[in-house]
């Protein structure tokens, strides 16, 4: 490459390149958006169904969801209890989940997911193994929290993830927030 390029050429070249790339990405992103949104909505419904023990596929999720769940002001009611939505931040980005409680505020099912936690470390919150640790725990008089070497007989304590401290802290924080909202909801209901 003996050819030399002027600074003006380099500036114009990079500007054109970036604009072309941006245009292509915009067009694709806009045109694929409906499909992606549909997938995400089906996934959310699958997650909520999973907490109450209903296994749904991407295709029948909407149908089963309509059958089992009624939405109520940000909460999801099912026969025998309520599903709390959880939203928080992990180490790299958003984490979220759903927690199904029966009428005594005991956890009957949980599911968590994340946008970009490290696979194998913080990303472990999305596994069934982690979610199952919550079953039988309670959200009645205080929130569940994650702890190192958790005491399994304590109904408010769940084992944290080794190597995923920041993500575990995020899970504790979103459980605490969900507990506050949930206790307000219960107060309103009794008043």
């Amino acid at each position: 490459m003996k050819k030399t390029f002027s600074n003006t050429y380099i500036f114009i070249y990079s500007a054109v390149l970036v604009v072309v790339a941006a245009l292509i990405l915009t067009v694709v992103s806009v045109s694929l958006k409906p499909l992606q949104t549909k997938n995400q909505q089906a996934e959310t419904k699958q997650m909520i169904l999973k907490t109450i023990g209903v296994e749904a596929t991407r295709d029948n999720a909407a149908e089963l969801y309509a059958k089992h769940i009624t939405e109520d002001d940000g909460y999801y009611r099912f026969d025998g209890g309520i599903v709390l939505p959880l939203k928080g931040t992990g180490l790299w980005g958003p984490i979220w989940g759903y927690l199904a409680l029966d009428s005594t505020s005991t956890v009957v099912g949980a599911v968590f997911d994340h946008k970009g936690e490290t696979p194998g470390l913080g990303g472990e919150i999305a596994t069934d193994k982690f979610a199952q640790r919550f079953i039988g725990k309670k959200m009645d008089s205080q929130a569940i929290h994650l702890a190192k070497n958790a005491d399994h007989s304590n109904p408010y304590e769940v084992d944290a993830i080794s190597g995923g401290t920041m993500t575990s802290n995020g899970v504790t924080a979103m459980l605490a927030k969900a507990y506050d909202d949930y206790s307000n909801l219960r107060k309103e209901a009794t008043e």
């Binding site: 390029f5 990079s14 990405l25 992103s29």
Partner: protein
């Protein structure tokens, strides 16, 4: 170099993983199961081929001073495209691959082929070079995915092979180590060993 060699060599004597030792990161990370391995292999192949063609077409217009940036823009545009398409059509797989789709940008095979080949070659040889390297990478990924899923989870493409054969009843257990990334490294090491013993000329003095 003959055109046919461009496709053939990356399969054996110039395999991107076994000989150039590029793209090992994703090779360890996504091969615990066959399906994500195949999708990753296809995605990388598509990105390498397209990036090679585009850079090769632009090669005489790219100012050398900003060539790496130009290559990065081309590669990252393609990767975002692949990511969007996966999210729309194979959502579950795209979730499994999670961060690794984005990491195709940093897959050394892509940048390596652009800088070493496409910048100085015509488009057609670049296509073949991209295809050869993409497929060379795919072969190893798929082989690893096959072995790791079969012995690690007892399934193939999600089909419960070990269960159907009735192996669990006679005391067979899955090898948990197989699904951990370190085992992928050991397997790659074994393949490289076998490969070098067959191609003595690759051994350093």
């Amino acid at each position: 170099m003959k055109n046919f060699d461009l496709i053939k060599l990356p399969f054996s004597k110039n395999n991107p993983i076994l000989v150039q030792v590029l793209g090992v990161c994703s090779c360890l990370a996504v091969t615990a199961q066959l399906k994500p391995a195949v999708v990753m292999a296809l995605s990388v192949t598509v990105v390498v081929v397209l990036a090679n063609v585009i850079v090769s077409l632009l090669r005489n217009t790219i100012p050398p001073r900003i060539r790496i940036i130009v290559q990065l823009v081309v590669v990252s545009t393609l990767v975002v495209l692949v990511d969007q398409v996966l999210k729309a059509y194979v959502y579950d797989v795209s979730k499994q691959l999670s961060v690794f789709v984005g990491l195709i940008i940093t897959n050394c095979i892509v940048m390596g082929r652009l800088e070493a080949f496409a910048m100085v070659q015509k488009p057609w040889p670049s296509v073949l070079d991209g295809l050869g390297n993409g497929l060379g990478y795919s072969v190893i990924l798929i082989a690893l995915g096959f072995v790791r899923e079969l012995f690690g989870s007892g399934t193939l493409w999600g089909y419960p092979v070990a269960e159907k054969l009735g192996l669990y009843e006679i005391g067979y257990e899955n090898n948990g180590l197989m699904i951990m990334p370190p085992m992928a490294l050991i397997l790659v090491g074994l393949i490289i060993w076998w490969h070098r013993s067959r191609n003595k000329d690759l051994t350093e003095q």
